[in-house]
């Protein structure tokens, strides 16, 4: 609906609405005591509003660094990152970020952890409780509201973090291997949940993963990063129609083609990585 005023827009990639996130000639060099690491080199990318974009690449290809820069917690060494057309210069309150490491507050229960972003937004207690209850149910944590993080498994802690990100309804969500440590079954369940949430919400999602199957299952487009210095090697438009069934999608003929393309692009780097 808000795409109407942008219909004249004719960027090559933005055939479905305005650009939410734009990266122009972005480079990142880490300088640790004189040892320079060129992590990302000349990355150009546009993420459309409401798009589900996946980023895959070998370890050390700067995927997490890319998300950190979009989130505004780490500035690029060169180049510009725009959010809604404005250069990113700090943390954006419209962006939710599900990081790879555990950042739950150990002294708060599950419900109180999920409450943190709502407390920050000064939501009254009653409204907070209703919202927390709904989100707890959605991520399947009912009955664990009063548990402390130490009492939960790794997968459950991930779900609390997901709930904590979803609960304040950010328009863009960055996810860094959110389902990485989960078992295959739970992973599929949560992928299905995520797709359902996303398709009802017109949120923009940038999803970093090392799992090609996961990337194809979820995303509109998959970006392949090369190993260090990370460059965009391939942008694959995923042609699988929506709504997708996360269980059935991998048996479609188109899936195999996508998998082959992406694997070919990634393979060289993975082999090089393995030989180190």
């Amino acid at each position: 609906m808000h795409a109407l005023k942008h219909v004249h827009d004719s960027r090559p990639q933005s055939d479905e609405g305005p650009v939410a996130i734009g990266l122009e000639r972005v480079c990142k060099i880490f300088d640790a005591q004189g040892i320079k690491a060129n992590v990302l080199d000349d990355v150009n990318l546009e993420v459309r509003q409401g798009e589900f974009l996946a980023i895959v690449g070998p370890s050390g290809s700067g995927k997490s660094t890319l998300l950190n820069m979009i989130a505004g917690i780490d500035p690029p060494t060169a180049g510009v990152i725009r959010y809604d057309g404005r250069p990113v210069s700090g943390v954006s309150p419209q962006t939710g970020y599900l990081t790879q490491h555990d950042s739950l507050l150990a002294w708060r229960t599950v419900a109180d952890n999920i409450a943190v972003p709502l407390e920050i937004r000064h939501m009254p207690r009653a409204a907070r409780d209703t919202q927390i209850q709904a989100i707890v149910q959605m991520v399947g944590l009912t009955g664990f509201e009063g548990h402390y993080p130490r009492q939960l498994s790794g997968g459950m802690r991930k779900r609390v973090m997901l709930a904590r990100t979803l609960v304040y309804n950010p328009e863009t969500i960055l996810m860094d291997e959110p389902f990485g440590p989960l078992d295959a079954q739970l992973k599929t369940v949560l992928q299905g949940e995520l797709l359902r949430l996303w398709s009802n919400s017109n949120k923009t999602i940038v999803f970093v993963t090392h799992d090609i199957v996961e990337a194809i299952t979820l995303a509109d487009r998959v970006v392949v990063l090369s190993s260090r210095p990370g460059r965009i090697k391939l942008v694959e438009e995923i042609a699988l129609k929506r709504p997708r069934d996360v269980h059935a999608v991998r048996f479609m003929p188109a899936f195999e083609d996508h998998y082959k393309h992406l694997w070919d692009a990634i393979e060289v780097d993975v082999h090089r990585e393995a030989q180190r």
Binding site: V91, T99, I120
Partner: protein
């Protein structure tokens, strides 16, 4: 479906719990025996091996304590020391937490003041007592100040390490959610450094007592320190021991209470 699990676990845990409880009871018994043994040796040694003028005897101490308790003397003096210590403890703790939190905000500020604070910390607090007595007279004030200073440094240094040890990832996570500096202070920095702050408080409490009692010994007409000093002045060894024993009981009780509070606050661990 979880019923067999529970059934399978139950005997094991109860057996373990029972074992632990039996151990605890046994240890209490041993403690009692140890105490009685020491008291018996002391009692036997007095009059036979050592002149009770120097070491008194458990029975004499018990008599003195009973006399003091019935006359209300002990409670009156204990109460004074108690008040001085707690007031000093409270003031020192508040200033220590506030100071540590504030200075922990900036590495530059911390490094600037570090040598000065460390130098001040190195001064034996007792050595400040004459100065405080000179400034504030012989009432409760110099005792409160000395207790406060003793507590302050311990709480300050512990708070400072606590603030510096906070996991940067947690701060970052809250920043991404749009938290203000104040939010981060309240929701991450303070609760995350609470274990360190508590350690400072626990270490500080006995030092607060030491400060108050030491100042009382130098110049005072009330308090446990005064009672000890005046008993010694009258060569009343039983009186000195009685006063010390009372002080010991009070500090043990307070430490125990603080331990309970700690377990309640950190129940998430």
């Amino acid at each position: 479906m979880s019923a067999p699990d529970i059934a399978g676990d139950a005997p094991d845990t109860t057996r373990q719990e029972k074992g632990a409880r039996a151990d605890a009871a046994l240890i209490w018994l041993y403690r009692l025996l140890l105490l009685l043994g020491v008291l018996a040796i002391w009692e036997a040694a007095a009059d036979r091996l050592i002149d009770p003028f120097w070491t008194s005897s458990p029975s004499a101490i018990a008599a003195t304590l009973a006399k003091w308790l019935t006359s209300g003397l002990l409670v009156q003096h204990l109460f004074v020391t108690f008040k001085e210590t707690l007031l000093g403890f409270f003031i020192g703790a508040v200033l220590g937490i506030a100071g540590g939190t504030l200075i922990g905000q900036s590495e530059i500020v911390r490094r600037t003041v570090d040598p000065f604070v460390t130098a001040l910390y190195g001064v034996p607090k007792i050595a400040l007592a004459p100065l405080f007595i000179m400034w504030f007279g012989i009432g409760m004030m110099p005792k409160v100040v000395l207790a406060g200073v003793s507590v302050f440094f311990l709480v300050f240094f512990n708070t400072l390490s606590g603030v510096r040890e906070v996991d940067g990832k947690l701060v970052e996570a809250l920043r991404i959610m749009g938290a203000s500096r104040w939010d981060i202070q309240r929701k991450v920095m303070f609760p995350a450094s609470l274990p360190w702050i508590f350690l400072g408080l626990k270490l500080g409490l006995p030092y607060g007592f030491v400060g108050a009692v030491a100042a009382e010994m130098m110049a005072s007409n009330q308090g446990i320190g005064f009672l000890t000093q005046s008993s010694a002045g009258q060569f009343d060894t039983a009186g000195v021991f009685s006063a010390l024993l009372a002080l010991m009981a009070v500090t043990s009780g307070l430490n125990e209470a603080l331990g309970h509070l700690e377990r309640w606050i950190f129940r998430w661990r």
